[in-house]
């Protein structure tokens, strides 16, 4: 579905009434696969590449999903396994009091009004089966105890709604017991995967990433070309040919970024930003073609897949004999790096505790994983005055900052990016309190949902974020939405095109590079997007 096929923004959510609910009880309401609100199934070839069960051709809108005959057994067995392996899952099945505090915290409910997108009901979809099959009261009383059998319609409902959760964890901030519906979704998706129910927008990146190291399936020589292309762009803008060390053994630092940063605009401006900054400070670092992806769609598949895709980062750090690892501006990548990597693929005892070679700062907070976030790294550079900056080059940009879900609610990275932004740009305006920091709203395209076929749901789910952006646009003249996430840069761009067309989207290091005065640079007349900087005339002889 394309944007222009959607109703006008003012009309999109006209039908949404939070307090108007279906007559029929939710357990009896079958799922309605409305085009524009669901995702296409994974192609068989992608499942085969990563050895996942039941590769086949199937269609969501057809009756028969070609499941294995014993699908119920498979799922219930997988269910039991996970109840015994994840205390989170077990506990979240047991203790929800259905107080509804999380109900209107989910962007998909706020923009879509479908009650099953209230986090509590999303979890109840699976909890009802838990009660029926795994609890004493449920076994005795069945439906009266809120239990229901795992039938095909229930399974279809799981598929629809677990791929309508972007695993943003906003609900877990508000729940009095910290019940994290994203965790429930993750396990729910794992179960679906056991019988071959997955979506292509997740499985294609997974398969590519497994084979080539990055989501887009770009082979090493393609990466070199692509990256050199950006090196040339930088030279055109600044007159400086920046370093581009690739697969360099013995470099001090390995740098890993999400592939979204070099795949398309506006991510590429951020990528160029990294190149410029790291060149300017003379960092001894290297890119890797094998570990050419920090993002990890395993997070949207299964815990096992997270581990399989993440393994390359430490492996490559070891092979290249670097001291520590630096990571780029990405959201879900940082959930994986921060909360899973060391546990799954560590310990990283072959690396050293990270110390900035430029400022001498020890990154105590990363002494275990040995991986530092570029915002931490750059804000430390700025703090020590190691970057020569001219923020006036960003005067034409009036920014606000979107906290991406994972850096916000899984890492707690709030101040570093803000410190950087305030230093490189004079016009920084925060969005309203309820929509930033730990309460930030999702781009509605995370967790594999940022595809075209799901466009209506994305634009609906984007309402709360867009609503806050429109507020600062109208009040403060904001024209740039900054974020620290590759998925955001792609999905927010579409969202802005729909909801707030005059606001562009970009990363932080793009603005850093705009402001960065590089040694020996030529007079800057255009910014890192190649757009003229207002008020700066090109010198005549340069023509």
């Amino acid at each position: 579905m394309e944007l222009h096929e959607l109703p006008k923004p003012e009309d999109l959510v006209k039908d949404v009434k939070y307090r108007k609910l279906p007559e029929k009880p939710w357990m009896q309401e079958p799922v309605d696969f409305k085009p524009g609100t669901y995702n296409y199934p994974a192609l068989a070839k992608n499942l085969k590449k990563v050895h996942m069960p039941n590769p086949r051709e199937w269609h969501v809108d057809q009756q028969d999903w070609h499941l294995p005959d014993d699908w119920q057994e498979i799922i219930l067995k997988g269910f039991k396994d996970r109840l015994e392996k994840y205390r989170s899952f077990r506990l979240f099945m047991d203790i929800c009091v259905r107080c509804g505090a999380c109900a209107d915290k989910c962007h998909f409910f706020l923009g879509g009004g479908d009650p099953k997108n209230m986090p509590v009901l999303r979890a109840e979809l699976i909890r009802s089966v838990y009660r029926n099959d795994f609890t004493t009261v449920g076994r005795l009383l069945g439906n009266l105890a809120g239990g229901r059998k795992l039938t095909l319609p229930v399974l279809k409902e799981w598929f629809y709604y677990f791929f309508q959760c972007s695993e943003c964890r906003r609900c877990s901030v508000f729940c009095p017991y910290g019940i994290d519906t994203a965790e429930v979704t993750m396990i729910g998706r794992e179960l679906l995967n056991l019988v071959g129910l997955n979506i292509n927008w997740v499985m294609e990146p997974v398969a590519n990433c497994f084979m080539t190291g990055n989501h887009l399936g770009i082979p090493p020589h393609g990466l070199v070309e692509n990256w050199e292309f950006m090196q040339d762009d930088i030279e055109e803008i600044t007159g400086i040919k920046v370093n581009l060390p690739i697969n360099k053994k013995g470099a001090e630092i390995l740098f890993v970024v999400p592939s979204g940063d070099y795949f398309a605009d506006p991510g590429s401006y951020t990528f160029m930003g990294y190149l410029a900054v790291l060149h300017e400070i003379g960092l001894d670092y290297t890119w890797s073609t094998y570990a050419s992806e920090g993002g990890n769609f395993g997070l949207f598949t299964s815990h096992e897949m997270i581990k399989r895709l993440n393994a390359k980062i430490y492996a490559e750090a070891k092979r290249l004999k670097v001291k520590w690892i630096l990571g780029g501006e990405c959201g879900h990548m940082w959930r994986v790096i921060h909360q899973y990597m060391d546990t799954m693929n560590g310990p990283a005892d072959f690396l050293e505790e990270p110390v900035s070679p430029i400022t001498g700062t020890k990154f105590e907070n990363a002494k275990g994983t040995k991986m530092v976030h570029i915002a931490e790294f750059t804000s430390d550079l700025i703090r020590h005055g190691k970057l020569n900056l001219d923020p006036s080059r960003n005067d034409h940009i009036r920014v606000t900052y979107h906290d991406s879900c994972n850096p916000a609610r899984a890492v707690g990275l709030f101040e570093e990016p803000r410190d950087i932004i305030r230093t490189v740009c004079k016009n920084f305006y925060e969005m309203p309190e309820d929509s930033i920091r730990e309460k930030t709203y999702c781009c509605a395209g995370g967790a594999g949902l940022g595809n075209d076929e799901n466009m209506e749901m994305r634009m609906r789910g984007g309402l709360p974020r867009a609503n806050a952006v429109r507020y600062v646009r109208d009040q403060r003249g904001v024209n740039r939405l900054l974020c620290m996430c590759a998925i955001d840069r792609a999905t927010l761009s579409t969202m802005m095109e729909y909801w707030a067309p005059d606001v562009s989207v970009g990363g932080i290091h793009e603005l850093v590079a705009n402001a960065l005065i590089m040694k020996g640079e030529k007079k800057r007349t255009v910014d890192f997007r190649g757009e003229p900087i207002p008020g700066v005339e090109p010198d005549e002889e340069e023509e």
């Binding site: 509804g100 017991y177 909360q339 546990t343």
Partner: protein, 334 residues
């Protein structure tokens, strides 16, 4: 399940339980069963049930540290860490848990979303659930503690203090405990919001109403016992002390209403370990709250971590060696 079906099913069960005890001690006269056997049984189910459930939880590993960060994490020395909403050490975790358990910190964040004209979304503060939740739990706690006066001789002084302060606001005679009123009001609010707010009504199950009705019934029977059909408290105390010292005996002449009250409490106790009421011990186990956000500092161990199939660099280089050499990338094997 239809919302009204849920409400009435729950109501019916609670009325049925009330009736069971009414008939049981009245016409049938089985006071020994309702005064001695059932309470012992309920106590055993309650304690064993809770312990078993807690052991079940505790036995399940915590494979990953999935702390939900609600504030600035600990990072560079000049950046202030919010150690309560995003703890990086045990003290922070204790502080965070304290706020959750005693002040319902997360519930306090609650807001209410409203969608207006032109797709404008606004948020209003919504602290009623927090307020009545707090009132409900604290009055519940006070009432439970106050009941200790029946089981102890001499009474511990803190129990006396509670009763003293509570009765301080003598509203009616004989003393109506302030907490009783707050308790009934708060439980009543929790029920009303369940039926009045459409979303909550939509997602409520019979068990949600059941817990509330049972609690309300206990509260109401308790108040009736104090205000209307007064029972002889000395005799109640005799029974309670007998139970507590394992020399149970049924004193003569305690009104039937007391046995109803007691039976409903027993039902709650039996129900507790098998229900959502386990959120009380459960919150202490919640991995998004009880873990420090120190993931990159300290390695969290997953006891069932297992090797997985990966695509190694060697395989990768084998696939692309010639292409890599052609663009000048170094290779490990020529």
């Amino acid at each position: 399940m239809n919302a009204w079906y849920s409400v009435f099913a729950a109501l019916f069960i609670v009325l049925f339980l009330t009736l069971v005890s009414l008939i049981g001690v009245g016409p049938v006269g089985a006071k020994g069963i309702f005064g001695i056997y059932i309470p012992y049984l309920a106590a055993v189910v309650f304690f064993v049930g809770i312990v078993v459930r807690i052991i079940q939880w505790a036995k399940v590993p915590v494979p990953f540290n999935i702390c939900t960060t609600g504030g600035q994490g600990k990072s560079l020395p000049w950046i202030k860490n919010d150690n309560l909403d995003c703890p990086h050490n045990t003290w922070g975790v204790i502080g965070r848990m304290f706020l959750e358990v005693f002040l319902f910190r997360s519930l306090f964040r609650n807001t209410k979303a409203q969608l207006g004209q032109g797709a404008k979304l606004t948020f209003a503060s919504a602290k009623w659930l927090w307020l009545f939740g707090i009132l409900f739990h604290y009055s519940f706690l006070t009432i439970v503690l106050r009941h200790l006066r029946f089981f102890t001789e001499p009474m511990p002084s803190f129990v006396q203090w509670i009763s003293y302060f509570d009765g301080f606001f003598e509203l009616l005679l004989p003393t109506v405990f302030l907490t009783d009123i707050v308790f009934l009001l708060a439980a009543g609010y929790l029920f009303l919001r369940r039926v009045v707010i459409p979303q909550i009504r939509y997602l409520s199950l019979p068990s949600d109403y059941f817990a509330l009705f049972l609690i309300l019934a206990i509260g109401i029977s308790g108040v009736l016992m104090r205000q209307v059909w007064k029972v002889d408290l000395l005799q109640v105390k005799e029974l309670a002390l007998g139970l507590a010292s394992f020399r149970p005996a049924i004193p003569q002449g305690i009104g039937d209403i007391f046995y109803i009250h007691l039976f409903l409490v027993c039902c709650l106790a039996v129900y507790f370990p098998f229900s959502k009421l386990m959120h009380a011990p459960g919150v202490f186990f919640s991995p998004t709250r009880n873990l420090a956000n120190n993931n990159r500092m300290v390695r969290h161990i997953n006891p069932w971590n297992y090797p997985v199939k990966v695509h190694t660099y060697e395989e990768y280089e084998d696939e692309y060696r010639e292409k890599m050499k052609a663009v000048g990338l170094p290779v490990d094997k020529e």
